[in-house]
């Protein structure tokens, strides 16, 4: 497959077309109907959660949030493939994959409510927290890859970045180190066409993002990132390559950010309605759903029945997050070092003395 879709040939790997028809039988992934259905449902859950998160934000119940809308097939396929022992190194737009790895929605909500506890993924193995400084997480993936190789473990690292992120020096250093060290890392570029308002053509004059793999002597491929089957197949093969010690692999997943960059962003400033609509027909969920319906694995009715359950579950977790409890002064000071230095402890005591003073003072003010 990597031979057939050499990035120098400017081809984009697709299995299913925009109507959900298999157009590339040869590369149809092996996947059981049950697994496929589960993947669809997970994507549906993630999309529902994502859309609800945006409305929670509108209600002022969480802070800034980066929507995943339109990009779910990438995280969905990764989520369907990653095993417990595999590592996930997220950027910040891969909700579905994080959920698949065992991160809970409650945790993610807590994070977007502005609480670090939301990144203390209690039941998820081997998932790093969301990384805000663009592309900086990519070098971590390379390091984890080194650990795996060093300890001769049977794991693979799934690392995420955006198209904008490919411009950062860390993107270069990460993939280059990984190429030299031959570590089992799948570098996934989510090319959603924009970095905030900046179109990908302002990021690079490169013919594609996949072709950058050549600069590092690693395998690369350009995939239709809205085609779940193609993403699944590409990741599956990449994982095999990594497991054989022939990694790393660089995947450009071509997609579109249908929503705003974050809830603070207004895309009408920099892109047209026509452009947005042209991507509507490529929607990753619609496509997989058409396929599943054709295969009689799914129906509109089943979806209608499922959605309310999902919404209820999502809301339940949201409310749980809202009731998480207060952020104490101690919480500011802990977890900076294995053992909190005396001076930090003293700063906390000072602060507590101040809090007491303020309480008294405000009480006295109120009395007047």
């Amino acid at each position: 497959m990597f031979k057939d879709y050499n990035p120098s040939d400017k081809k984009t790997f697709q299995v299913m077309n925009e109507e959900g028809k298999i157009v590339n039988k040869q590369h149809m992934p092996e996947i059981t109907p049950e697994r496929l259905l589960k993947a669809y449902k997970d994507m549906l859950f993630a999309r529902t959660a994502d859309l609800m998160t945006v409305s929670y934000q509108r209600q002022g119940r969480i802070y800034t949030y980066p929507p995943n809308y339109g990009q779910e097939a990438i995280a969905g396929a990764a989520g369907a493939i990653m095993r417990d022992q595999d590592w996930m190194v997220p950027a910040f737009r891969e909700m579905g994959a994080m959920l698949a790895k065992g991160v809970t929605l409650k945790e993610l909500f807590l994070y977007f409510m502005g609480n670090e506890e939301g990144s203390n993924f209690k039941n998820a193995k081997n998932v790093l927290p969301i990384s805000v400084p663009i592309a900086s997480q990519y070098v971590h993936a390379t390091g984890i890859g080194y650990s795996i190789k060093y300890k001769k473990e049977n794991s693979v690292v799934y690392a995420f970045v955006g198209d904008g992120g490919t411009s950062e020096g860390d993107f270069h250093e990460a993939v280059n180190f990984a190429g030299v060290w031959r570590v089992p890392v799948i570098f996934i570029i989510q090319n959603n066409q924009y970095g905030i308002s900046t179109p990908v053509k302002v990021q690079t004059a490169s013919e594609s993002l996949a072709i950058k793999s050549i600069a590092y002597g690693v395998k690369g491929i350009r995939v239709d990132g809205n085609d779940f089957l193609a993403m699944y197949k590409a990741l599956r093969e990449s994982a095999d390559i990594c497991s054989k010690g022939e990694g790393p692999v660089l995947i450009e997943a071509v997609t579109y950010r249908k929503g705003a960059h974050t809830t603070s962003d207004d895309p009408t400033k920099y892109r047209t309605k026509e452009e947005e609509e042209s991507w509507d027909i490529k929607d990753p969920l619609k496509r997989l759903k058409s396929y599943l319906i054709k295969e009689k694995l799914w129906s509109e009715k089943m979806e209608e029945e499922l959605l309310p359950q999902y919404k209820q579950e999502i809301d339940r977790q949201f409310v749980e997050a809202e009731n998480f409890g207060e952020y104490k002064a101690e919480d500011v000071f802990m977890h900076h070092y294995a053992e909190t230095p005396d001076d930090l402890k003293e700063q906390l005591s000072q602060y507590n003395r101040f809090l007491q003073w303020r309480e008294t003072r405000i009480k006295n003010e109120a009395k007047k």
């Binding site: 994070y111 409510m113 904008g164 930090l344």
Partner: protein
């Protein structure tokens, strides 16, 4: 005169200098079509064209490093770091080149660059969006670091910065980007960089602050006044160079000084102001120079940020303490 907030005032300054001087170019992430995530560069690309106001690839070292190249070859780049937490990939270019090129070449080359950057907390932002690490930059020889606290100052200081032949880190207190409106002079005027501003004279204690902290001090002063404490408020305006003279004069008068900053405590700006106070006014001191600063912790995410941030009460607490010392 025109009523402006700080965003308007900065935009006005950029507009004036772009009109004034063809060698001025403005670029960075999303500063073109989008006009910057805080809209400081709004409308400038439409007015001056994509060659003068443009979006760069997403890479801070590339942005500052290319500005060094532009500056040595005759342009005056004004570049934006999108948030305070994202300047670090450019750290090497700042400390190794932008601040050194003149000295390294013994004056043959100079680097008139303005690096603009919103900084500071208080807006419920994501991780890395709320930091105040100005003392790190103030420690870099060859760099100037300035912070305005009002729309009026922002405009005048930005014009001075663009006209300066030095590299200037221009830190913009995003918490008060739109919070303070005031009458701002139209057209071009400058405010000299490196000079502090005595905002209100007082006799009991000197408080040194800058950026968004000035407003917090002003609020604390109202409460202090009720208790009969007279505060002299100095807006530092320049993190480096520091206007020692203004500080020394004030501390000699009041005998007491508190510095209010947002950044971490240890190795922060406050310690330097205290050092200046002891060096310049030791025999006048009636209490140890004090500080109201962030903790030596990472700025907490929004739910915990209020613990970390300075507010009028924290300042008042320290004012009362030092006056009673």
């Amino acid at each position: 005169m025109k009523i402006m907030n700080m965003v308007n005032a900065l935009n006005d300054a950029l507009d004036i200098k772009l009109a004034d001087d063809k060698s001025v170019v403005v670029y960075g992430e999303d500063v073109g079509v989008e006009g910057g995530v805080f809209r400081v560069t709004e409308g400038l690309q439409q007015k001056y064209g994509v060659e003068r106001v443009f979006d760069s690839p997403l890479a801070e070292s590339g942005i500052v490093g290319s500005a060094v190249g532009m500056a040595v070859s005759g342009l005056r780049p004004v570049v934006e770091m999108q948030f305070c937490g994202f300047i670090y990939p450019a750290f090497n270019q700042i400390i190794s080149h932008a601040s050194r090129m003149r000295n390294r070449s013994r004056g043959k080359y100079e680097t008139p660059i303005v690096i603009r950057m919103p900084y500071g907390g208080g807006i419920n932002a994501l991780e890395h969006h709320s930091e105040s690490m100005e003392s790190i930059f103030g420690h870099i020889p060859g760099l100037k670091v300035v912070v305005p606290s009002t729309p009026h100052d922002a405009k005048g200081m930005m014009i001075s910065a663009i006209e300066s032949n030095d590299t200037i880190l221009f830190m913009e207190p995003k918490r008060i980007y739109r919070a303070i409106k005031q009458e701002v002079q139209e057209g071009k005027y400058t405010i000299p960089l490196g000079k502090a501003n005595v905002l209100s004279p007082g006799s009991d204690v000197t408080v040194v602050a800058y950026g968004a902290m000035v407003r917090e001090v002003q609020r604390a002063m109202v409460m202090a006044k009720e208790q009969g404490i007279s505060v002299e408020l100095i807006d530092l305006r320049s993190i480096y160079p520091i206007d020692k003279e203004t500080i020394a004069k004030s501390v000699k008068k009041t005998g007491r000084v508190i510095t209010v900053t947002e950044g971490p405590r240890t190795y922060g700006v406050a310690s330097e102001i205290s050092q200046i106070a002891v060096e310049e006014a030791f025999l006048h001191l009636e209490a140890p120079p004090a500080r109201v600063t962030g903790f030596d912790t990472i700025v907490p995410l929004p739910k915990g940020e209020y613990h970390y941030m300075q507010d009028p009460y924290k300042i008042l607490y320290e004012i009362e303490r030092i006056v009673k010392y």
